[in-house]
């Protein structure tokens, strides 16, 4: 069974990191047994790091992990930094299949999400 690791940038603001942790819990609630473990990790400024997050999953029995980059643009973090962190664990645990999903901003569904937010927006009191 595949496991999911949500990967965010990490922030100096605890609340932002907690938003990511809550999102991982929301993911876990939603998948309802379709995936194994669901957790999150951070590129910098928060714990666990991506290698540590992957190591914890592998210790708990994961042998197939999909890494989900919670990023809006295909910058250096998505193109270079996250793959480099993942490769550390690929070298450490060659028996584990780790796959990088496209980053969130690459999803064509973002357009509908934005339009949904626009439609929910109440008119200002004026």
């Amino acid at each position: 069974m595949k496991s999911l690791l949500l990967v965010a940038h990490g922030s100096r603001r605890t609340e932002s990191n907690d938003e990511v942790r809550q999102l991982a819990r929301d993911l876990e609630a939603k998948v309802d047994g379709e995936y194994g473990q669901v957790a999150c990790a951070f590129l910098e400024l928060a714990e666990p790091s991506i290698p540590d997050g992957l190591r914890a999953m592998i210790r708990a029995g994961a042998y197939e992990v999909i890494v989900l980059p919670y990023f809006l643009s295909a910058g250096r973090h998505v193109a270079t930094d996250i793959p480099a962190e993942v490769n550390i664990i690929r070298a450490e645990s060659p028996g584990v299949e780790i796959t990088l999903a496209p980053y969130l901003g690459a999803s064509s569904g973002v357009v509908d999400l934005l339009l949904g937010l626009a439609e929910e927006t109440p008119a200002p009191c004026s």
Copy 2:
């Protein structure tokens, strides 16, 4: 008719800013006349600024604008900086209704988007 202004952080990477500009075009194509103007603006590092983006819309006839923050977390930018930029134009053009939509990361649809990306992810060649 309401207009939409997609607001992103802005990046030193031209490609990242161009991703946002393309997303605004995708939004425009999708709304298909349901909204008036659709454009984007940037908090920093790219043009136009949020005030300039709003001014351009107002010059072109907009009198109701929904600002869509293309951000993943409710940090200082979403909570303070974007409202401050919007307030500049509210003071300049009090006859124009400018509404702030929730930021993208606040959408409950993000969970489904992430799961969609996980499902599309091919197994690695190994």
